[in-house]
Amino acid sequence: MQNKKDDKSESSGSSLKGLSFAYRISSELLAALIVSVILGLLIDKFFDTKPIGLISLIILGFLAGLLNIYRLIRRIENHK
């Protein structure tokens, strides 16, 4: 009885985990880009380097978003 109950709770937990991963992937990329655009605009404002800070930070932010997604997917692989 106890064993059966444990099995059930585990399977519902793993399907929840799968759905939660799906919701996380989409927002990771967006969030990194938002942060990098804000940082880029701030750098341009303080150092007076109009387009360079924004452009370089958008590239870095995109890479950071990809890195976040890569780590997330690697974590899903470990869960299997």
């Binding site: 939660s20 969030a31 990098s36 976040n68």
Partner: protein
Amino acid sequence: MAKGESPLKQFEVQPIVEINVFGLDLSFTNSALWMTITTVFIIAFFTIPFLKTKKTNSVEDLYPSRLQVASELGFNFISSLINDTVGKEGKKYFPLVFALFMFILFGNLFGMIPYSFTFTSHIIVTLALAMGVFIFVTVLGFVKHGVKFFGFFVIPGLPIYMLPLLIPIEVISYLSRPISLSVRLFANMLAGHTLLKVFAGFVSALGFFGILPLVFIIALTGLEILIAFLQAYVFAILTCLYINDALHLH
């Protein structure tokens, strides 16, 4: 929904009691009202089952009441979540994760009641919660590891000439945590509730065929309740993961 009313009208913050303190607008709004209702409900949900004063010395005293089982289910859910992600050291941070989970969960669920107000559909509310978690985790990392916490931004086993490129990427990735936490919750709630109201507008506009969007709304309401639970779960599990990162560094 009345004709000409926007589906976004449900998100308007309206003052119920106007309070002005030294030029600061501290009005008690419908948002604040629903936050108060949520908090009071949570406190009641977790205290009423344990207030049993009647002692009859019968066997029935040994059985927990239904309400007690329901509240213990929530307790065990978060307790096992922390145990799985952080481990034994995470027990200390149970109150934080539990309070966040319950506040967001019941905020989302109360938002599903027609004519109520969903406070989690406002970015300022979710961002405040996420920034609270972010600042707490950062302070925790510095308290536990001191200056070594900066080593979090360096991936071990990497050649030195890669560091100037990868440290900014890691810093951006770290700073994006509160944004991704808050935007995810806010966007899901906003999109779901707007979609429900848009389809509700079709019901009256289509006349007899309005039955089709009505059926769709019923299905969508079920999905929204699942999302309400799921978003609270994602917020809680990410808080656990960030605490784990701050405690163990990588």
